[in-house]
Structure formats: structure tokens, C-alpha cells
């Protein structure tokens, strides 16, 4: 699945929250069409890393490139200059994100949630956005729920709407921040199936998750993080079947 073109490049990223050193030098690349799965115990920094990619958090050190473009800064005369908010907003348009807690807009129906960004950010006409939204909702199996508000949908349905909402911007890269962690066990499968479909269609994905089964089946790369560093990385089947590091072995022993 892994293409030749490099889409995401993370170089020596550190992140401090006050005194807490959450990320301690992360290097990672994701090729176009690659599904990169990141696992690790809570507090390992995996979600923070993901949030750094689309600048929801800004890294304290290091650089992140998406599609060759440095995120959040522009380099002039050997110094980094912060990008204005509107430029950061532009960079984010290429990157879809799915949150653990769905974060659907509560005052808008499923359809309106999906239409919001294309109309408001891209300036698409409502008619076109509506047609596209219906297609996307159909793709995640929810076209008949288009006029429901988030509070009328189950967690799994909300998360699938959230995926459709992110896809509506036609992103090159999709970030998933523990997309199934807030779901009842019987609803996890539907969301994972939508993600598998996406992967099959060649979407580049960075997925922070606890679903080892998903990593094994869909992932091209599995990265195990602990204590703010990458402990081990490689093809999922190999890492899962034959972890080289003691910490990876201990973690997998607990979750498998």
C-alpha cells in the first residue's frame, strides 16, 4: 500500500507542557497512502504527537512537514516566523481529523455538520455541498440519518458522521485520535469498517488507537510509543508477533 511519495515528515519533535516533557524527540515519516498506526499506554504522548501534526498543539522543538510544507511556520533568513492564524487554517484544510469524543457541532444536523466546512471554508455552493454530504453520509452508512442532530445518534453513528465531515474537505491526510475509545464495544466495529474502507481506497492515515486487531489488519506501520519516545516501529504483524523491545512486549502482553 505504501506509496513512494512522503506525505508526513516529523523531525525531532519535542513538546513540553510546563515542566512536563511529553514528547522527547520523535522522528517519523508517513508515505502517501500509508496507514500508520500509533499505539502506547496513556500518557505516552501519542495523542499529543497527532495533535502537533495539524497544529492543535504546537511543538516546542523540531519540525513537521505535511506534503513538503512546514507546519505552522515559515523560514525566512534562517529564522522561523510564526504563520498567521489564517495561514494555519489554510494548512489544516488538507488534513482531516477525527476526535475521540466526536466533537460534532451539536446545533447542526448530521448533514449540516458535513456541509459546514465545504460551504464556509471552501465557499462551495450549498447545493453541491449537500449532494456531496449525502454521498459521504451514504458511504459511512448513515444517509437516512442525515437530518438527525448529534444527540439523536449513537456514539458509533456520531463518529461515522465525524469521519464524513472530515472527508468533505477532501483531505490528503486523515488523523484519528483514539476514534473508538469512547464507544460501546458493540459500536466499535462499524467505525473500524469505515476506516478500513478508507484505507482500502488509498487514504493516508495516522491512527492513534488501542485496537491492535485494526493495526494488524489494516496498518502498514505500527509504532509503539512510551514515555514520549518511539520505542519500536515496523510492519504491524512483525511488531505484534515478535516485539524486540521489552517495553513493547510488556504492553502487548497486557492488551492482547
Amino acid at each position: 500500500m505504501t506509496g513512494t511519495k512522503e506525505l508526513v515528515r516529523i523531525e525531532g519533535v519535542h513538546k513540553y507542557f510546563g515542566d512536563q516533557h511529553v514528547l522527547r524527540g520523535i522522528d517519523m515519516t508517513i508515505g502517501q497512502g500509508e496507514v500508520s498506526v500509533v499505539i502506547g499506554p496513556s500518557g505516552s504522548g501519542k495523542s499529543t504527537l497527532l495533535r502537533c501534526v495539524n497544529m492543535l498543539e504546537s511543538a516546542s522543538a523540531g519540525r513537521i512537514y505535511v506534503d513538503g510544507e512546514l507546519m505552522g511556520y515559515v523560514e525566512k533568513h534562517g529564522r522561523l516566523h510564526m504563520l498567521p492564524v489564517k495561514e494555519i487554517a489554510r494548512q489544516r484544510r488538507n488534513i482531516g481529523m477525527v476526535f475521540q469524543r466526536f466533537n460534532l457541532f451539536g446545533h447542526k444536523t448530521a448533514m449540516e455538520n458535513v456541509m459546514e466546512a465545504p460551504v464556509q471554508v471552501k465557499g462551495q455552493s450549498k447545493a453541491i455541498a449537500r449532494t456531496r454530504a449525502l454521498e459521504l453520509l451514504d458511504r459511512v452508512g448513515l444517509s437516512e440519518r442525515a437530518n438527525h442532530y448529534p444527540a439523536q445518534l449513537s456514539g458509533g453513528q456520531q463518529q461515522r458522521v465525524a469521519i464524513a465531515r472530515a472527508l468533505a474537505m477532501d483531505p490528503e491526510l486523515m488523523l484519528f485520535d483514539e476514534p473508538t475509545s469512547a464507544l460501546d464495544p458493540e459500536l466499535v466495529g462499524d467505525v473500524l469498517n469505515v476506516m478500513k474502507d478508507l484505507a482500502r481506497d488509498g487514504m493516508t492515515m495516522m491512527v492513534v488507537t488501542h485496537e491492535i486487531g485494526f493495526a494488524r489488519e489494516v496498518g502498514d506501520t505500527l509504532t509503539f510509543m512510551d514515555g514520549g519516545v518511539v520505542v519500536e516501529s515496523g510492519p504491524p504483524r512483525e511488531v505484534i508477533a515478535n516485539p524486540q523491545q521489552e517495553r513493547t512486549q510488556a504492553f502487548l502482553g497486557k492488551v492482547l
Binding site: 495539524n54 492543535l56 492564524v85 489564517k86 487554517a89 489554510r90 494548512q91 489544516r92 484544510r93 488534513i95 482531516g96 481529523m97 476526535f99 469524543r101 466533537n103 460534532l104 457541532f105 451539536g106 446545533h107 447542526k108 444536523t109 459546514e116 466546512a117 464556509q120 471554508v121 440519518r145 438527525h148 442532530y149 448529534p150 444527540a151 439523536q152 445518534l153 449513537s154 465525524a162 465531515r165 472530515a166 474537505m169 488523523l175
Partner: protein
């Protein structure tokens, strides 16, 4: 305990409990006392000649009174609009990354909330004494043109400034609480979609904050309606309270004219309450209009209940079986 069975449709239906409900003699006694007092009140209203209902009826439709109602409404509306615009600005400034904005917003609220509205009205009335002339020019530099303060800040505008600025401080706090009540995830999701801050505020955060903002703002509007009765401090002399007071002084009949004023304030308040109801309904979208009827029922217990045609919030008596603890039946508590 008598027992009944379900309609013939279901032969295996369990016996429903049909228990004698707990009696509440205290409630009956309390209700009786209230009814007696109400009857006394109605009787006195009808028979006490000092109420002078004829005078009330006469002045209820008096042109000066109706005009007073009009001016009170205009004062309330214009002051509230000024207060709301300022409050939105103040609430945004309070959330800003710019410390000067945050500090100015805080100081504004501190000052205008910390001094009595009556004092502020007096002050705006006296503005022309403090600054007889207002001029436009370059700051610390030459003057371009000047006007008499008295002409620019008439009594009406002095009243609006006094009421509006004072109110803006309270509303700013209400708006701030409203904005804070919206989950941070909403902003993050909008940011991740590439939306700009202003659009995020107007399209995502504010509409959801309105659910929290509208009820106390309705409260404040009703408060404002009645605070306009203080504008004689400016002095502004056309509002309802001033008019009815003036008529009372002229006719030596204060009580019927107080009733006239109270009547009109109540009428306006009632209309405002109806308006508030509809605004609340509008901004309750996605929360208050979401019931099991339109969408799928998420809670499995509720789904089961709905399937059985049972109102979840008002369940029927326990059907079949009894819960016993230490051999005693647990009383169903009153809901």
C-alpha cells in the same frame, strides 16, 4: 392489595400492583389556607372603595400614560441593544490573547458593575456640566470642530448611556459564562476543518452559547424594563413611572395610578416572556428539540419502554413481582 389484570390481549400478563396511594393531608390544609387568602384578597379588591377602579380604568387609556409606555419600551430596547453589542465585544476581549484587551474588559466590568445605576444616570445627566463642549480633532493636537455637549447628549441619550453601559457589564459576564459553557472540542473540530477564528465564534461557539445566554438575558431585559423607572435621575421625564407619578401628584390619587403603572409593566413583561420562549426554542436546536419521537432512542432502557408504549419519565406502577427488603415492601416514592 387488590389486583387487576391486563386487557385480554395478553393472557400471561403479570398482575399489576394497584396499591392505595400515600395520603397527604398537609397539602390539602396548605391549599385550603391559600384559597382562603385568595378569596379575602379578591373580596377586598372588589369592595374597598380606595382602589378607585374608575380612576384606574380612566388613566389606563390616557394618552400620556400610553406615551409613557412607548418611551419606556424605546428606552428598554435601545439600552439593551447597546448593552448587548458592548457585552459581546467585552466577552470576546476577555477571551483574547491580548492582555490589554483582557485587562480593559475586566476593568470596564469592575467599574460599571461596581457603581449604582442611579449614580451613573446622574453622572450622564451632568456630563454637560463636566464637559460643556465636545470637539473632534487630533489627539493632543489641533481641534477640527466642536459641539455643545447638551445638544449631542440629550436627556434621552444620557438615559440610554447610563442604562446601557451599566447593563453591558452584567451582560458581559453572562456572555462570558455562555462562551465558556461550550466544549473546547467544538472549537478544535472547527479549527481542524480549517475554519477561521471569527467564523468559529459566530457559527459554532456563539449559537451554542446562546442556549446558556438567553434565559439570564431575558431576565436582564425584564430588569432593564423596570430600571428605566430610575431615569428621572438624568432627568428624563417621559417614561411610564414619571408620567404616572406626575398624574398622581396632580390628582392626589397615588394608589390608582400605581396600579396603572404596575398593570402596564406586567403587560410588557408578559410579552417579553413570550418572546423569550421563542428565542429559547430557536437556540435549543439539537438539544431541547431532541426527543425519542424524531430520532432513534439511544438509551436501551428507554428504547424498550418506548417499544412497549410506556412513557419513560412517568412510568406506570411496577408491574408484577414485588421488591422486598427484610420482608418489607419498598414504598414507591412520590415522583
Amino acid at each position: 392489595m387488590r389486583s387487576t389484570t391486563l386487557p385480554a390481549a395478553d393472557k400471561d400478563a403479570p398482575e399489576l400492583i394497584d396499591a392505595v396511594p400515600v395520603r397527604h393531608p398537609g397539602r390539602w390544609a396548605g391549599a385550603a389556607v391559600i384559597v382562603i387568602f385568595l378569596a379575602l384578597l379578591v373580596q377586598s379588591l372588589a369592595t374597598n372603595p380606595n382602589f378607585r377602579w374608575d380612576v384606574v380604568w380612566l388613566y389606563l387609556r390616557d394618552t400620556r400614560v400610553i406615551q409613557g409606555v412607548g418611551w419606556t419600551l424605546v428606552l428598554t430596547a435601545v439600552s439593551m441593544v447597546l448593552a448587548i453589542v458592548l457585552a459581546i465585544l467585552l466577552a470576546f476581549m476577555r477571551q483574547s490573547d491580548n492582555p490589554i484587551f483582557r485587562w480593559s474588559s475586566w476593568t470596564w466590568v469592575w467599574f460599571f458593575r461596581g457603581t449604582p445605576v442611579y449614580t451613573q444616570l446622574l453622572f450622564w445627566g451632568l456630563l454637560a456640566v463636566l464637559y460643556p463642549k465636545m470637539s473632534v480633532g487630533v489627539p493632543f493636537g489641533p481641534e477640527l470642530f466642536a459641539l455643545n455637549t447638551q445638544d449631542v447628549v440629550s436627556a434621552f441619550w444620557a438615559a440610554v448611556l447610563g442604562l446601557g453601559l451599566n447593563e453591558s457589564a452584567y451582560l458581559a459576564e453572562i456572555f462570558r459564562a455562555g462562551l465558556k459553557s461550550v466544549d473546547k472540542g467544538q472549537t478544535e473540530a472547527a479549527e481542524a476543518l480549517g475554519m477561521r477564528s471569527r467564523k468559529i465564534m459566530w457559527r459554532i461557539v456563539l449559537p451554542q452559547a446562546m442556549r446558556v445566554i438567553v434565559p439570564p438575558t431575558g431576565n436582564e431585559t425584564i430588569g432593564m424594563l423596570k430600571t428605566t423607572s430610575l431615569v428621572l435621575a438624568v432627568p428624563f421625564t417621559l417614561d411610564l413611572t414619571f408620567q404616572t407619578n406626575a398624574l398622581a401628584n396632580r390628582t392626589y390619587l397615588p394608589i390608582p395610578l400605581l396600579i396603572v403603572a404596575a398593570f402596564w409593566y406586567l403587560v410588557i413583561t408578559s410579552i417579553l416572556m413570550v418572546g423569550q420562549h421563542f428565542i429559547e426554542k430557536h437556540y435549543g436546536k439539537g438539544v431541547d428539540n431532541v426527543s425519542g419521537a424524531r430520532g432513534p432512542v439511544i438509551n436501551p432502557a428507554a428504547a424498550k419502554a418506548a417499544a412497549a408504549g410506556i412513557d419513560e419519565h412517568n412510568p406506570p406502577k411496577l408491574s408484577g413481582g414485588a421488591t422486598a427488603v427484610d420482608g418489607e415492601y419498598i414504598e414507591e416514592s412520590g415522583r
